[in-house]
Symmetry: C2
Subunit: 575 residues, 2 copies
């Protein structure tokens, strides 16, 4: 049995009503899903937002990761538990309170659960629970999203079948059907086969649900009305004379919103240490913005003195999109940014091969600092934010490596602390909590940076200019290569009125550049934009710079083969 | 706004905890889904089954219907409300109690909700509520079933992609992926396109989720262990040398069961009159057995003195499968069978055309009695049951027609009463409730038929012999035509060890025969078996006798276009 599942199943959970009461949400206001999960309805959250001052927002992001991941989710959970542990200790000692913390995280997709990577509910003693439920279709949000997406696709094909009065060009259909599984065989399909009663034949394919625009919309919507409005704007296809065909045109917006109505309320669960955690939404971090729902983040801010949330991938992708896209549509801005680093990722970016990452190598670790330092500099200089580095400790890290890393970063002028929440829960993240509290205090005292939201580009910039600014400021690129076919697509987006949308770059997370083999802090490279796509409902233009897989496949021996349930309903084999 | 939705939204619902307490299930034992829906965990049901005597079981079935449907679900709800209303009145009058009633019904599919037929939560003043939730993916059971089914399909294609060590023949794959929508364009597909990374190309297609074997299994399973065992047995494909490849062979049974673990607990809701109602599972009534889950029916029997449940289509299909398949795997047997008839269906079977069904025509109505009488005779003579006829009143029925129908049926020797639950709720079904109570009393006094479960065939009969017996006894057919290719498939099923499974006939519901234009009680016709399929996990052989659509399409103007949600979350346009 996996250690994570063992710890999770041994945990003693509080009733979700008790968790909610602890942050002032009465039981009557909850929509329970069992006794340890609940949705908090949007009218309740709106009322609380009006009544209370929002808490401070802490964004957890990371340096460019290794393929094993550096523990952003685990750190987010550990930090929130650490903030609450600090608050409890202060109270016990009769000292001034530091305030309570509430988490906001993404929901896991079933793709990795049944594939290779496993679940996404944290790990060790920094987990959200009930772990099995969260990992196994939870409160059904992803299914609602899949149904809404697939209803639009079915209605579009149905429209074509019944005469196609909108003159949809079957070669220019952009929406794909989705499923929340890794299902390689559905990447490329033909549909509508079988003659007169089987619809109109066309080339097609399926994506995983987290890659859908409906998922991105779900996570950016600020209300049910905003959700409906955004869904209406999705461009499903183009006509033969190149006019956009939207969800509104085929009359699907109302039914799609009806399918999503209940799902839109954020899900409340708890950490192993009973910190309230909103787990809601989970768009891809490449072709979408990679953050939990705006509503979950705002819910955490409404209920907590501290709200801890996370953005996918490294800071060049996750934090950039969080800051340039999500905060702006949500009307929020972080007070502190926690950048997760690991000794092994530092060594990796210092040139050490994967097989050697567990061998002590202070020199390589310091050489890899260039990557982390660049991310820190971007957060400070481009966005005016206050970063804190969490050095997420792994068993193979040596004390010498950790000490050298911390000393180096402090010299660089940033708060940096080792964190051991995986092994010790909130207690292992007390120093990190203190660093975050200190950074926020400094900022609030006026000695810190200014607090105005900033973007890395202006919305009035052309899409090309936006890409150039992101590439040079965030990726250290020397230039952007936009092939003429792609430039023509961008001109078309501008002509259709989408020129002022932000851009959402899909590229590798393993390098600042679009070449995963360029580690450290490469400079002067060229960002090649292979393709662009419009997400008119989500409200961004996706720039695809690399191989982006929107339907993963299962490995030769998928995790699903090892998952089981005994006659009493106890699940085994999840990790 | 539709009248059904208007009535449902105006209803005052009780807390589901209160509904559960009313039948002796403490709040602590429930798994709430919001405040008006809950799942009752299997261990709780098992405990109650051990503690209490099971209630009497009333099966609601129907004469051969018109395309508009005769109101089986509405009658089931009305009868349960009527039984409870009678019980309350007795108590109020200080008379001996007649016992409380609990419902067990199928969950609606989203296909008809967004297509043409609308929802399936009853109608008028005989509804289960919350109507919008029940009709719009409810507690997520169908999504869990779709995921489990699609995981098996993905793992099979993944196995083929990664070397196909089982030697699966891509031309002999039986499992289809499913979605809970009417999506015509997915009927015929090719998948695995796009080269090396896209899997292995093959011809494929999608079914609607209610047509899947996983759905049938879900509804026949008696425990989590039985569910896992049945899933393991599903034959997904055959190898090139014609050996079956099962779910167990590809290692998917555990993960499929994990996905279905929570879904397997029956969902508890209430009628407009607060009768407890289990709404759980919903397999097709043609290629599957068309009844709610065994667990829901047993839950209703455990908690009610009366359990009212329904079988899909007319009695030749629904009741036959309920009796020959479901009761036997569930270990239950009905005490009374309520056969729903309508004046318009009687006229239809008496030869009146659809457009003229609202015109009074006593003679035609009496001519159509042949159909109803045949169903009644089968229930009595083949199965030894006690039928009661519920004449479900429609506004266009004249008093003369109703009086003549009742008089005729009483002369035929059956209890027959008009019922007006659509217009008046339980009060409109008091006479029906009394008829059911009287029939059960008669049976229990020993003057009724014997109570031994019977099948219309023996399990030891060959599949051909089973079909011949069903055809002659239930359909009044003169013979069965089994083409040699179909006979060869049946021989293969027998050779593989499936010869003793019951058969599940898929044919039109509009006629006793397989020709929908043969109304009344046709005799001597031939049942042509076009194809047979094995559902090894569900435990039956499907005999396809007619055009069976396992993936419906949307009409030119689907209902989905008229469904909407306002900014407060109120849903409109459902019917």
């Amino acid at each position: 049995m996996s250690i994570d599942l063992e710890i999770a199943q041994a945990a003693s959970l509080k009733r979700i009503t008790e968790i909610a009461e602890s942050v002032g949400v009465p039981t009557e206001d909850l929509v329970p899903y069992g006794w340890t999960k609940a949705k908090v309805p949007l009218p309740v959250l709106e009322r609380i937002e009006q009544e209370r001052t929002p808490g401070r927002l802490v964004l957890v992001t990371a340096m460019s990761p290794t393929p094993a991941g550096e523990g952003k989710t685990t750190t987010s959970i550990g930090l929130a538990d650490g903030l609450n542990e600090r608050n409890r200790r202060r109270a016990a000692a009769g000292e001034p309170a530091t305030g309570n913390a509430v988490l906001a995280l993404r929901e896991p997709s079933l793709g990795p659960v049944f594939g290779m990577k496993g679940g996404a509910a944290g790990g060790g003693y920094a987990q959200v629970v009930p772990m099995e439920d969260i990992n196994l279709h939870f409160t059904g949000d992803f299914n609602a999203i899949a149904l809404a997406n697939n209803l639009a696709a079915a209605m579009l094909d149905n429209h074509i079948h019944h005469g196609n009065s909108l003159d949809v060009d079957v070669r220019r259909i952009h929406i794909k059907r989705v499923v929340d599984l890794n299902d390689r065989a559905l990447r490329g399909t033909t549909i509508g086969l079988g003659g007169l009663n089987g619809g109109v034949p066309r080339e097609d394919g399926f994506d995983i649900v987290v890659a859908s625009e409906v998922m991105a919309i779900f996570c950016l919507a600020t209300s049910l009305a905003d959700l409906r409005e955004r869904l209406s704007r999705i461009v499903l296809a183009h006509t033969r004379d190149r006019k956009p065909v939207t969800v509104a045109d085929i009359g699907a917006a109302g039914a799609m919103t009806a399918l999503l109505r209940d799902a839109l309320a954020p899900n409340l669960v708890q950490t192993l240490e009973h910190t309230p955690a909103f787990i809601h939404g989970g768009p891809f971090a490449n072709i979408a913005h990679g953050c939990n729902s705006v509503l979950a983040t705002r819910a955490a801010m409404a209920l907590g003195d501290w709200a801890v949330t996370e953005a996918g991938f490294g800071a060049d992708l996750g934090a950039e999109k969080f800051l340039d896209i999500k905060t702006q549509s949500a009307g929020i801005w972080p007070d502190v940014v926690c950048v997760v680093a690991t000794v092994r990722a530092l060594k990796y970016h210092g040139g050490v091969e994967k097989a050697d990452l567990e061998t002590e190598n202070v020199e390589a670790m310091l050489a890899g600092m260039a990557n982390l330092e660049h991310h820190l500099t971007v957060l400070r200089e481009v966005y005016g934010l206050t970063p804190v580095v969490s050095l997420n400790r792994f068993p193979s890290d040596t004390d010498a490596e950790v000490a050298a890393a911390v000393a180096h970063l402090r010299e660089f002028g940033v708060r940096a602390v080792p964190a051991e929440h995986w092994a010790h829960g909130g207690e292992g993240a007390l120093d990190l909590a203190d660093a975050v509290i200190a950074a926020a205090a400094e900022r609030e005292s006026g000695s810190g940076e200014d607090r105005t939201p900033r973007r890395s580009y202006e919305l009035s910039d052309s899409p090309e200019e936006k890409l150039r600014k992101i590439a040079s400021r965030i990726y250290r690129a020397g230039g952007v290569d936009i092939p003429s076919s792609v430039a023509a697509k961008l001109r078309r987006f501008v002509a259709e009125g989408y020129g002022e949308l932000p851009v959402c770059v899909a590229k590798t997370q393993y390098s600042l550049s679009s070449d995963p083999s360029l580690r450290g802090a490469p400079e002067g490279h060229t960002l090649t934009v292979r393709d662009v796509r419009l997400s008119a409902g989500a409200g961004f233009i996706v720039a695809i710079c690399g191989d982006i897989m929107t339907m993963p496949g299962l490995p030769a021996s998928p995790s699903a083969e090892r998952i089981d349930v005994d006659a009493e309903g106890q699940i085994t084999g999840l990790f």
